[in-house]
Amino acid sequence: MPSSSPISSVNDFVVRFANVNGSGSASANELFARSVLRMGIPVAPRNIFPSNIQGLPTWYEVRISEAGHLGARGGTDLMVAMNPQTWDKDMAGIEPGGYLLYDSTKPMPKSRFREDITVIGVPLTAICNREYTDARQRQLFKNIMYIGALCALLDMDIEATAQLVREQFKLKEKLIDANLQALHLGRDWTLQNLQCPIGLRLRRGKAVGERIFIEGNSAAALGALYGGATVCAWYPITPSSSLADAFTSHCRRLRVDPASKKSKFAIVQAEDELASIGMVIGAAWNGARAFTATSGPGISLMQEFLGLAYFAEIPAVIFDVQRAGPSTGMPTRTQQCDVTSCAYASHGDTKHVLLFPEDPAEAFDFAADAFDLADRLQTPIFVMLDLDIGMNHRLCRPLTWDDSRKYDRGKVMTAADLDAGKDFGRYLDVDGDGIPYRTFPGTHPTKGSFFTRGTSRDRYARYTEEGAPYADNMQRLLRKFETAKDLVPHPLQANAAKPTKYGVIYYGSTSPAMDEAIHMIEARGHSLNRLRVRAFPFHSSVTSFVADHDFVFVVEQNRDAQLRSLIVNECSIDPVRLVPILHYDGTPITARFISRAIGDHLDALKVTPLRKVVS
C-alpha cells in the first residue's frame, strides 16, 4: 500500500530523465520537452551534466508549468530512470506519491523500489532487441521508445511529437520513418500492457503564445551579431564555448556577402584567454566591434589586459557565462560567482560595467547594447550570463530589433573634425561627462595620432609620472563611471499589492525562481517589494530602494553575497540592512529555496516583535 496517494496533476509537474552521458538520450529528451511546448504548455528544461564526454551520469529535467513558472522547482514527480549507476539517488529524489518509469527487461528485487511511489516497468531493452539487430540502433531507438511510452502514460498528443520528428529529420527521410516506428512501438506496448494514463497528464493548452525557445548563449551570440560585432576571439571553456559556436553559425548564415561569398566577420580561436582579450582590445582600439566569451577561469587569466582596457580606455565586450568556482570548481554547474572578480577586475583602482540579463531575450538585448555601451564609455562591458541561462533552452519573449536603430559609436573624432581645427586630447574631458574623444589609427596624415599605453599620461596622452595629472586622470575615470550609471539598463521594481517594510533584490538567472517564490511567500502571509538589478554601476534607485525599506533581502547564487557586498561598498549602505539569501550548491536556485529562506526569516520576525516588546 503506498503511504502517499499518487500525485494527480495536469500540466504542472516535473519529469526527470536519468541517463548515461553519450548514450544519445539528449535529443530524445529534448524531443519530449519540445513536444510539450508544441501542445501549448510552457516547459523549462535543464541539463544537469558532468564534465565528461561519455559514461558518467547525466540528467535532463523538464519542468512543465501551465502557469509559466520557468525556474527550477526542485523534486521530481516522474523519474525516467535509465541509468543503473544512479538508481538509488534517483529513487530518493522522487516526491512522495510520484512515479518511476524504468526498463523492466531485467527483473529488479522489490527491495529496490520505494513503497510510496508508483512503479511503471516497460521492457525497453527486450523490445529493442526483438526489433533491431544493430547495437547503435538498439541504443538510440530505446531512447525514442521511452518517449513513446510517456506519450501513452501522460496522455500526450502524439501528433505533436511526430511532427517534430518530421521537422528534425526533414533532410534525412529514412530516419523519419525509423524514429516514428520506435515512437509507436513504445506507445503501443504501454497502451496495451499498462494502465494509461497515470495521474500526471498533459492537455493541450494556450499558454505558450508567441514565445520562443532558445539557449541564452545562442541569443547572446545573435545579439552580438545584430549589435555589429565583427571580431570574436575566444578560447574553449564550458559553459561559454557554445556562445562562440553559435556566433560562428549565425555569421555563416547572416554575415556572408551573397555576391562575393566573403565574410563580414573574423573569428579566432585563440591560444588562451590572454590572447583572446588581447585580440579584442587590439580590434576595438582599431575601431571594430569585438568580443570574447569566457567563464570564471578565463576572467582570472584576463586580469592584466582588463586593467589596460580600463586605464587606456578601450572598448571591449566580455560575455562571462558563469560556472561554479573557485579554481576549476564545478565546471558544469551554475553559479553567479564572478560578480566581484569582474566588477573590480585587475590590479590598481579599477571598476567595470556589468550587465545581468535574466533570460535569453534579455541576453540578446544586452549583448547588442553592450557594444553601444562599450563604444560610448570606452571601457570593458561584461555581460554576466550563467550556465543556467546560457546552456539551457528557455522559453522567452520573441527577439525584437528596431530597424531605425543606429549603432552608437561613441565619441570618435574624424579627419573632418580634425581638419576643422577641433582640439584633440585623447584624455581631455571636453563634455564634462568624463568621456574623452578618440581617433582610430589611420585617420589623418598629420593630426589626431596618439600613443596608447598602460602607463600614466596627461590629457594629451603624453607619458608622465607626475602626481597631479595622474590623479586628474583617475578622477576623470570616476566621473566616467558616474556617467555610466544612467546609461546602463536601470533596475526594475515591482511592488507588492499591500504596502510593506521589506524588499528583495535579485538579478540574472534568479528571476523566474524569484517571481514564483513571491507568490509562495505571499501565501505565507508576507509581502515583499522586488527590485531586479540589471547592471553595475548601480543606478540611484538601488540606494533609494534600500532606504525605503526596513531591510532588504539580497538573493544570489554564490557563497559570499557578492552583489550584496557591491551594494554595501558602492552605495555606502549599512550591511545590517541587507540580508543575504544564498544558494550555491551548483544547482539552479529554486522558488522553494527562496520562499523557505525568506519566509522563515519573516515568520521569525512575526513571532517575536522584539522592538514592540521592549518599547
Partner: protein, 351 residues
C-alpha cells in the same frame, strides 16, 4: 618619452620622397634609451625604410609590449598611432588590430624578454596564424629596464655583467619562426644599417608574417667580455648569407648589383628582392635548407644574418578567413545588421 619635444624646424634642402616628406616626418620624439643603444639604430633603420618606401606614416600602426625595445615606437613615426600594450602580449593586440583593418601596415616591435620569455606563446601563435605584419625583435639577451637579468635568448655559458654564468639553453627565435611557418624570416645586427634597411623594407612589402630578429647589444648590461650579444662578439661571429636590395613593384627601378651572385625574388605584391649572395649555395626559398644552414652555423658559433627564408606567395590570416576587402572597422549597420524581418524569421524557427 614625450616630455622632450623635438623642434619641427628642418633644413629646406633636406631630401624629400615621392610624397614630399623628409626624414623628419618619419621621426618620433627624442629617445630616452641609453646613449649608444642598438635599439636607436633600429628605430633609425625603420625611419629610413618607411621614408624610402614612400609610406604615409599614419597608415602604419606600431605596436609593442613592455621593455626597452617596446618603448622605441615612441621614437619613430610620430604621426602613426602607437600601442604600448602589456608584457609579452603585443602579438595578440596586433592580431586583433589587423583583423579590424586590413588596410594598414602593422609593425610589431618587441624584445627578447617580451617575445622569448613571457611572450613566447603569443610570438608562436601570431606567426603560425600568418598575421600580415612586420615583427621585429630587438634582441640583446638581457632585461635592461630591470637591470641586467638574463632573458631566454641569452646563450648558454654567456656571462652577465654581475659575473653570473647562464646555465639555461637559449631560444633562437629565428629557428622557431622557421619552424612555425613564418613566411619571411631574417636576422640582422643593429650595427649594420645597410643590411637592416632593405630587410625592413622587404618585410613591410611582404604580405604575410615577416619576422626579423635584430641583435642589438645592450650598452649598459650586455656589452662586456663574456657576453655573446656584445658589439665585438657579434661582429666577429657574424656570417651574412646575403646582402639585400629591395625594389618595390610600384617603382621598378633597377639597381646596380654585383654580377655572378645575384638572385631576384619577386614577392606576391610585385615587389622584388635582389639578393646579393655571400654564401654561394644559399637558397632563400628553401625552408628546410634554411633550418639546416642555421643549425650548422650555430654549431660552430656563427650567427647567421640576412634574409634566411621568404615565401613569395605567402598566406595570411585574412586570406584564410576569406574576409571582405573592406576593412571590418568601416562596415556599418547596413552591412552588419540583418534587421527585424530576418529576426522575425529566426523567431519563427524557434517555436
Amino acid at each position: 618619452m614625450t616630455y622632450i619635444t623635438k623642434p619641427k624646424f628642418h633644413h629646406p634642402a633636406l631630401p624629400k620622397n615621392a610624397l614630399g616628406y623628409t626624414h623628419r616626418d618619419y621621426e618620433g620624439s627624442v629617445s630616452t634609451l641609453c646613449a649608444g643603444c642598438g635599439h636607436d639604430s633600429i628605430s633609425g633603420a625603420i625611419i629610413e625604410a618607411c621614408f624610402e618606401l614612400d609610406i604615409e606614416p599614419h597608415r602604419v600602426a606600431k605596436l609593442s609590449g613592455i621593455g626597452c625595445s617596446s618603448k622605441t615606437p615612441t621614437y619613430f613615426l610620430g604621426s602613426s598611432h602607437g600601442f604600448n600594450s602589456v608584457h609579452g602580449r603585443m602579438p595578440s593586440v596586433l592580431t586583433g588590430a589587423n583583423l579590424a583593418n586590413r588596410d594598414l601596415i602593422y609593425l610589431g616591435v618587441s624584445g627578447d624578454g617580451d617575445s622569448a620569455s613571457i611572450g613566447l606563446g603569443q610570438f608562436a601563435h601570431a606567426l603560425r596564424r600568418g598575421v600580415n605584419m612586420v615583427y621585429i625583435v630587438e634582441n640583446n639577451g638581457v632585461y635592461g629596464l630591470t637591470k641586467g637579468q638574463f632573458s631566454a635568448t641569452a646563450d648558454r655559458g654567456s656571462k652577465s655583467k654581475r659575473g653570473v654564468t647562464n646555465t639555461d639553453n637559449s631560444i633562437d627565435l629565428v629557428a622557431l619562426a622557421l619552424l612555425l611557418g613564418a613566411t619571411f624570416v631574417a636576422r640582422s645586427f643593429s650595427g649594420d644599417k645597410e643590411q637592416m634597411v632593405p630587410l625592413i623594407k622587404a618585410a613591410i612589402e611582404h604580405e604575410g608574417a615577416a619576422f626579423i630578429d635584430i641583435i642589438s647589444p645592450c650598452v649598459a648590461f650586455n656589452n662586456h667580455l663574456g657576453s655573446t650579444k656584445s658589439f665585438d662578439y657579434v661582429r666577429e661571429h657574424n656570417e651574412a648569407v646575403n646582402r639585400l636590395d629591395f625594389i618595390t613593384g610600384r617603382a621598378p627601378i633597377t639597381v646596380a648589383y654585383e654580377a655572378g651572385a645575384v638572385e631576384v625574388v619577386e614577392q606576391h605584391d610585385g615587389s622584388k628582392l635582389v639578393l646579393k649572395k655571400v654564401a654561394a649555395d644559399y637558397d632563400p626559398n628553401d625552408r628546410l635548407g634554411a633550418m639546416n644552414f642555421l643549425q650548422r652555423h650555430a654549431a660552430i658559433g656563427q650567427i647567421v644574418t640576412g634574409l634566411l627564408y621568404v615565401d613569395p606567395e605567402p598566406e595570411d590570416l585574412h586570406r584564410n578567413f576569406n574576409t571582405v576587402g573592406t576593412p571590418l572597422n568601416s562596415l556599418a549597420e547596413a552591412e552588419l545588421c540583418p534587421g527585424s524581418a530576418m529576426l522575425e524569421k529566426i523567431n519563427a524557427s524557434l517555436r
